[in-house]
Symmetry: C2
Subunit: 395 residues, 2 copies
């Protein structure tokens, strides 16, 4: 067995996205202790950068030492107690996962279902809130990674708040790619991941909790079922004042997160959102010129995650395998009900670049043509280039 | 705000330890997807390397995507169900933490207490097993990081097995530093951490489960309370055969773990254990020559974690602050009942080197002399050098 040297990929799936060289370099700096004064100063900066990224003043904003799905679990296990009721909006895989976790908390779940590819319907949530006045929590996914659809977080959080419910919002795929405005939404517990539009390495889940959410945690009758994710313990380490040991923070991953958040601030959040939108529109122009279509209506499409319908008769896995083998491009497959039916083309963070859009379109043209798919004369690349040359540049 | 450039430290606390440059370099290689065929080949190698490190044939051996305390929680939440009884041996902070987690599983804990600094007394465990014939689990810490004492894992696991109990063993601080022989012990669920004697970056918890433990998980009446740590789900990703998505693995941290496990295999487990023992003896010779003493009896001392009694009248934090400021050396403070009473001097993994032993002794001599402590003429460094020059080399 020898050292592992990864192949060079262009990551255009549902995450991880391409990690910026500055982030990889920061990651590899020498490890210091998790209680080192220098590391504690870094922790303060990371919290400040996360607040600037989530657009929140929430004091309780920090990176969970585990992947996004642990960030999800942290929100639910801290806010829910056995016997509580949670309304879970489900329009894809990750809403279904929320439901799983609610049940494991011993809470009662009320499900608001929408079709995969559609956003969450506010009217349905409103009806569910009216029918379940004792509900404590409303949970939904802002950007459904499994379908590429975005829901209206401001409206959904507003409905929850009107009824006195706490909101839990999944922004794993949206943070850094499309507007996430925690305070303006009035969201209460929000989690994300490092490896999507932040373009950091996978393994860290930024979270933020409103003062209302903190009060709910402080008012619990029972202990949080997870010791590792118990906010009251984690905060003794990540909170203000003297640090007490809870667990050993993933020191180097925090270096990397800090650098990725700095990169985002240097670019500016609004510039980053505009970049994601622009590259999405170029990709869409190219794909549509090839006769390919999206699984999500234009108004709800995530620019950073393009769910593209696999043409009839095409074996989707063979296309992805050829793209990976010949071009080093990773696209994502469909999940759950979407398996075999869509490709998920990610343009997230550092992967959202003109060169990746053009590379992907050129490679898809070659591969689909070889497989005998009608690509309408193969004008995808030209359409994207025309978009960039024209209005795309001034977006 | 600017990029973070950590100070250069020599990590001689309770972990993280100094990370080998080869491991930092591996960490920073370009990120690939967690479902990439190249990454899946790496996962197979990591599992094989972990088996070679834990000395086990257990099929279910993999790195948890979170710190050691999450590895601890994974063992308990998968093996315990509400109403079960667990016997927890407590002789330091980490045994107390086990107790916390048992209670959060809704299980009943029977505590076997031993003094901090002492190993777990097998007779007490034997008595507890006799008194609680319905107990399902026996849990103990092999190497108590809070006190520097090692317990006899083979004997304790054997007692558990005789009574039909599953054993959960914390090897966070022992793996790679002192013998951890999972199959020879007959241990059932064993967890460790990346940042101690493996000298990898913090954030990953290797775990291994015996076929008996797997059968217990498969026979559960209830769902595991943690979705993130549910073995039946995690195994769909880390198990054999086709990978299904559970969470996004911390890809770069797995590169680093692979490299650190390779380094250990290149050195050889027995050579690594001998190195830890030799450097400990050199440090002990030096400390004792300075009139300092250990908090743990010689037979139970961990070579990788030296709990040294703070001389009367010395403000221990001031000594650590000066070592950090003037020499870049990080030592650990005491935890819990040991706070203020001991220093914890780690000689773990890549930190277990002759140069670190000598540096630490030289720095301690200077600092303690400056503070007016009687250091018996300051022959610590000379004693360690004599040890290395003499029998120490042939150890």
């Amino acid at each position: 067995m020898t050292s592992f040297h990864p192949p060079q990929r262009t990551l255009m799936g549902p995450g991880p996205s391409d990690v910026h060289p500055r982030v990889l370099e920061a990651l590899s700096r020498p490890t210091v202790g998790h209680l080192d004064p220098a590391f504690q100063a870094l922790m303060a900066e990371v919290k400040e950068l996360l607040r600037a990224t989530f657009l929140t003043k929430n004091a309780l904003t920090f990176p969970t030492s585990a992947p996004g799905s642990a960030g999800m679990e942290a929100c639910f296990v801290n806010l829910l107690e056995p016997g509580d009721t949670a309304i879970v909006c489900r329009n894809g895989v990750f809403g279904g996962r929320m439901l799983e976790i609610v049940e494991r908390c011993g809470a009662r779940a009320v499900v608001v279902d929408d079709a995969w590819g559609d956003p969450v319907d506010p009217q349905k949530l409103s009806d569910a809130l009216a029918a379940h006045p004792a509900a404590k929590v409303v949970a939904f996914v802002h950007a459904e990674t499994s379908t590429g659809a975005q829901s209206d977080a401001a409206v959904l959080c507003g409905l929850a708040r009107e009824r006195g419910c706490l909101s839990i919002v999944d922004t794993v795929t949206s943070l850094g790619g499309t507007p996430v405005e925690v305070d303006a939404w009035g969201a209460d517990a929000v989690y994300s991941g490092s490896q999507k539009c932040l373009s950091c390495v996978p393994g860290i889940a930024p979270v933020t909790f409103s003062p209302r959410a903190v009060a709910a945690v402080e008012g619990r009758r029972t202990k949080v079922q997870s010791w590792f994710l118990d906010l009251s313990l984690v905060m003794a380490y990540w909170g203000e004042g003297s640090r007490s040991y809870h667990h050993t923070a993933p020191v180097n991953a925090i270096y990397a997160l800090h650098e990725s958040l700095l990169l985002l601030q240097e670019e500016g959040l609004e510039a980053a959102w505009a970049r994601h939108a622009r590259n999405h529109r170029a990709l869409a122009a190219g794909l549509e010129a090839m006769g390919l279509s999206f699984a999500v209506a234009p108004a709800h499409r995530l620019p950073q995650l393009n769910a593209v319908t696999v043409p009839a008769g095409v074996e989707e896995a063979a296309v992805r395998a050829r793209l990976l083998h010949d071009f080093g491009i990773e696209l994502g497959a469909g999940l759950g009900a979407m398996a075999g039916k869509i490709w998920r083309i990610g343009l997230m963070g550092h992967s959202s670049r003109r060169r990746n859009v053009l590379l992907c379109l050129a490679a898809l043209e070659v591969v689909l043509r070889d497989m005998g798919v009608d690509i309408h004369g193969g004008q995808g690349l030209a359409a994207a280039e025309a978009f960039y040359a024209g209005g795309g540049q001034s977006f």
